[in-house]
Amino acid sequence: MPSRPPRRMNLNELVDSLERARLHGHGGAYFPTGTKLRAVASQRRRPIVVVNGTEGEPLSRKDRFLLSARTDVVLDGAFCVAHALGADAIVVGVDHRRVQVIDALEQALAGRPELADRGAPVVEVIGVPDGFVSGQETALINFLNGLEAKPTTTPPYPFEKGLRGRPTLVSNAETYAQIGRIVAGRFDGSRHVTVAGAVPRTTVVSVRPGTTVAAALTAAGGVTEPISAILLGGYGGTWAAAAPALELPLDEPTLRAEGLTLGAGIIFALGSSDCGVSEVARVTRWMADQTAGQCGPCVFGLDAIAGALEDLCAPGLPGRDRFRSLAQVQRWCAMVNKRGGCAHPDGVSRYVTSALSVMAHTFSDHAGNGPCDRCEADYRAANAPLRRSVRTGQAVPV
């Protein structure tokens, strides 16, 4: 429960302090939050505030951490924004499977003093279907409007016509937490990052802008084996070679200048005992399956890219075919980029293209010499015949 209600600011004060703090969205798009707030406020109708806590990115843990362990800071931010915009409703969208997060939110809301105010916004916590694309802002708005959780063409953008057709501010849960800190005067530029891969366990760490990737890995318990490559920004993010990446500061402008981004705040370290090709093929197949199924380049293109990557890990394929598949991956990644209604294909394109350049040797080695031992093991595990368990009734490998 908050010790005292957070300060209330009017729109100009709030936008000014967000701009002074150079706050950008923490969901991955890195859009300046102050600008977004102004865009919503410039509309005629009464706005609605949406907290995007869907966290569809499989590697991310920071939003569920903040929503359940720093619930009041997130709500401070949301209430403050709602007050400044004159919004009459706050909707928090959470992956429907995360019952603990939803419970934490309900509990924190029960103790909020603002809700007793006259004209206080109505706050709702809503479970959203899981899936990578259902957290995309138009998909989330569509779901909250009673439609399928699939993206629609923009414009109109949510800031013009969002929830219930009203101007809607959709921001990531951590963005509201940052607003909460800025308003309380406790903002120091630090952010939350999920560290995954070759660390003892997936960990959420709070990092200051100067913190290096290496320091974040140490904070997450240290690497469990030598690192062969680092993925920044999650499954729609960018691979970087381990050695230079470890020294990079976790500061978005610096990373962007290097062609990198933390996206929704994700660091994934690929251990040298893992096969990069097999990892990239597995993730790409998963991402292809996550398509909303609306745009041809996404539906057919991502499936083709995933299939060609799987060719590199499949035993028994002639070398010529593997080389052709590798060349096709390059071509198709360029072909699907920027060709969807949302940026899902762009993310896959970036993920795969950067993997091909960072792990060029591994990929050409797979094309030339066929799958490595690790690929073969992964392939066998993935293609193992299944039988139904007598005890549990579930499918298990033979």
């Binding site: 199924g293 609306q294 041809g296 057919f300």
Partner: protein
């Protein structure tokens, strides 16, 4: 009765049926994504469109010549409202129904851009209802309905639409936005 007008009614009626059939057939072929190098998609689409406009023109002359004919004396209302005329009620009513449906299809296609895809398609489907009704009007009222050549035309029309329809139903649909 003017002999010329008598011929005009018959000729325009038959021509409307042929052009309407061509329109429906080409529309179905286009939906099945039929195309060759000599006959690309846009050519079939253009012929579909032009045939439909030509059919509308023939239909207008057909109706006009029928309602102005002093011998058969069909009032103009009968061309648009079913079951108001005592003369061959069923056939003329079928004509009126087909005429109304076609008018809806024609107007909706002219303002397709403004209508939006969903509503346009819903209305465009009425053409599938209009075609058999129009055919029945010909079989029921056509002066030449019993002549071998008219029977042949009817059969060709039915065969053409049915085979295009079969092709359409057999074509695996591509990704369609819902």
């Amino acid at each position: 009765m003017l002999v010329l007008q008598y011929y005009v009614i018959r000729a325009t009626g038959t021509m409307t049926l042929i052009l309407f059939t061509a329109t429906v057939t080409l529309g179905l072929l286009n939906r099945s994504r039929v195309a060759t190098d000599r006959w690309p998609r846009f050519v079939i689409d253009r012929i579909h469109r032009n045939a439909s406009l030509l059919a509308a023109a023939f239909l207008a002359v057909h109706i006009l010549s029928a309602v102005t004919d002093s011998f058969i004396a069909i009032p103009l209302t009968a061309a648009f409202i079913p079951l108001v005329h005592t003369y061959s009620t069923l056939g003329i009513s079928a004509a009126a129904v087909a005429c109304d449906l076609l008018l809806a299809v024609l107007i909706s296609s002219l303002v397709k851009g403004r209508l939006g895809y969903g509503s346009w398609r819903a209305i465009h489907w009425l053409a599938y209802a209009a075609w058999p009704v129009a055919l029945l009007h010909g079989i029921g009222n056509g002066i030449d309905r019993a002549t071998p050549w008219m029977i042949l035309i009817d059969l060709i029309c039915v065969g053409s639409v049915l085979s295009a329809l079969a092709l359409r139903l057999l074509t695996v649909p591509r990704l369609e936005a819902v």
